[in-house]
């Protein structure tokens, strides 16, 4: 969730979608994102829309949150129907935060039940929750599995104490192998989130984090370069000179190290920052973002996308609860993405994934530039020539690191 909401057009009070949103909906997957805007403590680097208990007053408490979110599920159902969209069962559910596992398991189960009751789930639906290694127990994980969750994504970030301290993460890294084992024992698929490029992190620190993560036998890893967003406590520390950010070369070296170690351990990249053991281990929910599927984001500050319409909810949990209590859409603004903008978005998202962007989706005027990108070693030549199927733009490892250059070259 971005720190500031984008500038867009006003959203209508009833949330109604333009007719264009319904076009082609049958061919697109439908996912639900549920945002849980609570954390026990706020980490210094975090710019997500999240609040600690003391930051929130009445009307938006942890206890009442599931009920409020379910109000939006009901509203979503109403809006989709009245806007002429077909009723589609949900293929993926993703509960993110914040720290979703701060909510009682019963609340998480209630939320999932609400989604299931409203739209139904496709058989074998992927249902993920993020979790903090600190706030789960074997019992809680087992109950999540029973409630229908299939996957858990742990915010491990690092195995190195001084790196975790700089990130202000409070969990004990020694717990990570345990929580992974508990989750797998409960029948859940597991992903670990890692962050590289934290101030003070050496290449060896990063190697150690990767090795610890891989030693758990996990089937999915996300690895993100630390981005210090304006407005975070860490940004202030950097400005004051208390922390020094690594340069882009350091980040590039760490990305390459991650790709080397993960690949050697049998995990394959399927998106710039995501690696999975088999295609079935990839996050289907996240693939929906990059493939241009539809999803409804429930919760304060959550973003949604339905048929080229993107919108985002008001950020503050109290404002969010208040809108829903009055029967209004919590959307703060929206944009209808079309024309060149849609083409740029398609390129920007499509090149991120290993399956690549069909050459047909590259604006005609830019297609000749693909040859240059192949020559520069940014785009895979065989895929671009259609060696194993339709012609596609697939990034090389160098191209993954320079994806923005590729997008700027290929966008109209």
């Amino acid at each position: 969730m971005s720190p500031a909401l984008p500038a867009g057009d006003p959203a209508p009070p009833d949330g109604a979608l333009p007719a264009s949103a319904a076009t082609g909906a049958d061919g697109r997957g439908f996912g639900v994102y549920l945002h849980v805007p609570f954390c026990a403590v706020r980490c210094g680097y975090c710019d997500f829309n999240t609040y600690t208990a003391t930051e929130l007053g009445g009307g938006a408490s942890l206890a009442s949150y599931a009920g409020t979110a379910l109000d939006e599920v009901a509203l979503a159902d109403r809006v989709l129907r009245t806007s002429g969209l077909p009723s589609r069962p949900v293929a993926t559910v993703f509960v993110g935060g914040g720290t979703p596992t701060l909510l009682p398991v019963d609340d998480l189960a209630r939320l999932l039940e609400g989604v299931r009751g409203t739209w139904g789930l496709v058989p074998g639906a992927e249902v993920t929750t993020e979790a903090n290694p600190d706030s789960v127990t074997p019992d809680a994980l087992a109950r999540l599995a029973t409630a229908g969750f299939t996957r858990v994504s742990f915010g491990m970030q690092s195995a190195v104490p001084h790196v975790l301290a700089t990130l202000e993460r409070t969990h004990d890294p020694a717990r990570v192998p345990d929580v992974v084992r508990w989750a797998r024992d409960a029948g859940l698929s597991v992903s670990l989130d890692l962050i590289y490029g934290t101030p003070g992190e050496s290449l060896d620190d990063w190697r150690r984090s990767l090795e610890v993560a891989l030693a758990t036998g996990v089937d999915h890893v996300s690895a993100y370069a630390l981005v210090v967003e304006a407005g975070t406590r860490m940004a202030v520390q950097v400005r004051r000179g208390e922390l020094t950010l690594p340069d882009e070369d350091d980040q590039a070296a760490k990305y390459e190290l991650a790709d080397d170690l993960l690949t050697a351990a049998g995990l394959h990249w399927y998106e710039v920052s995501n690696w999975a053991r088999t295609p079935a281990d990839a996050s289907r929910h996240n693939l929906g973002y990059w493939r241009g599927d539809d999803w409804w984001g429930i919760g304060p500050g959550a973003h949604s996308h339905v048929g080229g319409v993107r919108w985002w909810n008001v950020k503050h949990p109290r404002a969010y609860a208040d809108r829903l209590a009055r029967g209004l859409s919590p959307a703060a603004g929206r944009e209808v993405v079309a024309g060149d903008t849609a083409a740029l978005e398609r390129v920007m998202l499509g090149v991120r994934i290993a399956e690549g962007l069909p050459l047909a989706d590259v604006p005609a005027a830019s297609r000749p530039a693909v040859a240059g990108l192949v020559a520069d070693g940014l785009v895979d030549g065989a895929a671009a020539l259609g060696a194993d199927g339709p012609r596609r733009v697939v990034l090389t490892r160098r191209g993954r690191l320079l994806a923005d250059t590729v997008v700027r070259t290929l966008a109209a």
Binding site: D249, V272, Y289, W312, T341, M348, D376, L401, L402, D404
Partner: protein, 646 residues
């Protein structure tokens, strides 16, 4: 700031001030004033020594402007002049004044105050203004003493045999040291320190006495009333509504309304649509006689048809010989001006055409730069002229411009004796060169004596030859150097100011040319020559230039997806090299549902930014890098970093 300049004296409604009565005023009616009753004078002063404020006070005391109509610095019309507190274009104002004769009767006089440009670039215009006068008020800030440019203009006035009246201004300032500087002025102009008048333009103290002194000391003009008219043009201003307004001083004969006149340098004839005096608004008159100063309107639209220094005569009874001292304005400094947005090129062309109407010294030719696109090579009188023109283009025509580093003109003789005039370093010939000549200047530097060593070091570093040195007083020294003009057009003045904590002042005038050992240094980006960065420098400095320019560019040009070598070369010989390492990562690690809109907007912005970049070979160079690299202070400091961010 502005409040300081507000008049603090009231309009002289009290009849005690010596403004001539109505009857007396009749004797000084324009076109019918005996030369004995005329006094033509100018004020020589440094930029901020208070000339305009003093002039304002004179306008008020003589009743020409009342307090309500008074704008601070009435005579400086253009906004830029007002903001910079300097006068670019001169004007003349006629003021009545009365002085009691021996019998105690108040005699009326008409005083023509001719405003002069205060800066070194406009020496020729100053010389013509001085030639229109018989006297000069030498105005010096009582807290600062005389400055080099004032000294240069004082020498010019003395060469023209003007009666010099030394005056110390701003005596109301706590920091004023009138005794000290009175002595300095007395030493310079000859005479007694007691005779130096002390005034305050701000409070008005001493200004009446100064007006009296002007009447007493400045000789009245002398001319032959019966001869064919000869009037000297000392200024020429384009006015949107009235066309060119020409300011003249009549030397012989007279000019009348509706008659045909001849410009003696071009033999062009014009009809005098209007003739008059400014006081301070234009007032049409029945003509102008011997010694009078006024304006002419002929309907021409371009100041080039009414050139400063030219002689105006009657068509019916033309003079045989023009007045002396005329010369064509000659550009000394050249710079390429390019619109940052290439589509603004036609706007720039129109803007230059318009400015040219009011600036006879401005000349330009279209040129094309591989790096910067379409623009103009523009010739200027000097650096201030360049700055003023550039600022007016940006302000009045809303243009964003890149100007290349200013350079001088080189006369190049090839081995086969072909001669080439180079006004753009990138046109410097590649073949065998027999000789290169570069323009030289005679520079005068006034400085507190403690900085003499510092200045010698600076000037020696700029290939200067010390010609002489005089102590004006114990603390102040006049140093005279001959320097290559190329060495002072870029950042010499900035260095002089910073090395002397702002105390030293500089004046220079061209003094011929001289053979020199010069080479052209080219800058190559990934093997491609960037014409905008080529420079002609002395052989001994080529290496330093190459090293500093490549280092600067390395900081200014963002990393590309490939390695970019930056080289400095003389011909095919590489003399310096830096490398911009290849960019390795630009991808945003996280791009989930909530990131998409923001990320897309970022990319759209980058695409817009890329449109503003110039591509040289395959290297994208932001415009800001050109600006920073070509400016004197863009050496990888704050400017450079800002440029990189954009």
């Amino acid at each position: 700031m502005v409040d300081d300049r507000r008049p603090t004296v009231q309009k002289p409604e009290n009849a005690e001030l010596p403004i001539p009565s109505a009857t007396a005023a009749e004797r000084i009616r324009p076109a019918a004033t005996a030369p004995e009753l005329l006094r033509n004078f100018c004020i020589i002063a440094h930029i901020d020594h208070g000339k305009s404020t003093l002039a304002d006070r004179m306008l008020q005391l003589t009743g020409v402007v009342d307090a309500r109509a008074m704008r601070a610095q009435y005579l400086d019309r253009m906004d830029i002049e007002r903001e910079r507190g300097i006068t670019i274009k001169s004007q003349a104002v006629r003021m009545p004044w009365g002085v009691a004769d021996a019998s105690g009767t108040v005699q009326p006089y008409a005083l023509n105050m001719i405003d002069t440009p205060g800066h070194v670039d406009f020496t020729y215009e100053v010389s013509r203004s001085l030639a229109a006068c018989e006297g000069a008020v030498l105005l010096v800030d009582a807290a600062q003493g005389i400055e080099a440019q004032t000294l240069a203009n004082l020498y010019l006035a003395m060469e023209n045999d003007l009666q010099v009246i030394p005056v110390l201004n701003k005596i109301d300032l706590p920091a004023a040291q009138p005794e000290k500087y009175a002595e300095e002025l007395a030493n310079l102009v000859g005479g007694d320190p007691e005779d130096v008048l002390k005034v305050s333009g701000k409070t008005g103290v001493g200004v009446e006495a100064l007006l009296d002194r002007i009447v007493q000391l400045v000789p009245s003009p002398v001319g032959d009333a019966g001869a064919p008219a000869r009037a000297m043009i000392f200024d020429s201003v384009y006015d949107t509504y009235r066309g060119v307004v020409t300011y003249v001083r009549v030397v012989d004969g007279r000019l009348d309304p509706r008659e045909k006149i001849v410009m003696m340098s071009t033999r062009a004839t014009h009809e005098l649509l209007e003739i008059g005096v400014t006081s301070p608004e234009p007032v049409p008159t029945k003509g102008l006689g011997v010694g009078e100063v006024g304006y002419l309107i002929t309907g021409v639209k371009d100041v080039r048809q009414s050139k400063v220094g030219d002689t105006v005569t009657n068509n019916a009874k033309p003079a045989a010989v023009a007045l002396g001292g005329y010369s064509e304005p000659k550009p000394m400094v050249f710079s390429g001006l390019y619109p940052i947005d290439g589509s603004d090129y036609p706007v720039l062309r129109d803007a230059l055409d318009k400015l040219k109407l009011n600036d006879a010294a401005l000349n330009y030719e279209p040129e094309t730069s591989v790096a910067l696109g379409f623009g103009f090579r523009v010739g200027f009188l000097g650096l201030l002229h360049l700055e003023i023109v550039r600022e007016r283009l940006e302000r009045e025509f809303d243009l964003d411009l890149i100007s290349t580093a200013p350079n001088v003109i080189y006369d190049v003789t090839l081995e086969d004796l072909t001669e080439i005039v180079v006004t753009n370093p990138s046109e410097y010939p590649a073949g065998k060169i027999r000789e290169v000549r570069e323009p030289m200047v005679k520079a005068t530097i006034l400085t507190p004596s403690e900085f003499v060593g510092t200045i010698m070091e600076l000037c020696q570093g700029r290939r200067g030859e010390l010609q002489g040195m005089d102590y004006l007083s114990e603390e102040r020294v006049e140093m005279r150097y001959v320097l290559p003009m190329a060495e002072i057009v870029f950042d010499f003045f900035d260095h002089l100011k910073s090395k002397t904590r702002g105390y030293a002042s500089l004046d220079y005038e061209p003094t011929g040319d001289q053979a020199a050992d010069l080479v052209k240094v080219d800058i190559l980006l990934q093997g491609e020559q960037v014409d905008a960065f080529s420079a002609i420098v002395h052989k001994d400095k080529a290496y330093a230039y190459g090293v500093s320019m490549t280092a600067k560019l390395k900081d200014l040009i963002p990393r590309q997806q490939f390695e970019v070598p930056i080289q400095a070369a003389i011909g095919s010989r590489i003399i310096a090299r830096e490398t911009i390492r290849a960019m390795r990562k630009d991808v945003l690690a996280k791009c989930y549902g909530g990131d998409i809109s923001r990320k897309r907007k970022l990319l759209e912005k980058q695409k817009e930014g890329k449109k503003r970049m110039k591509t040289i070979g395959r290297v994208d160079v932001p415009q800001e890098a050109f600006i920073a690299a070509l400016s004197s202070d863009g050496g990888g400091g704050k400017d450079a970093k800002d440029a990189k961010k954009k």
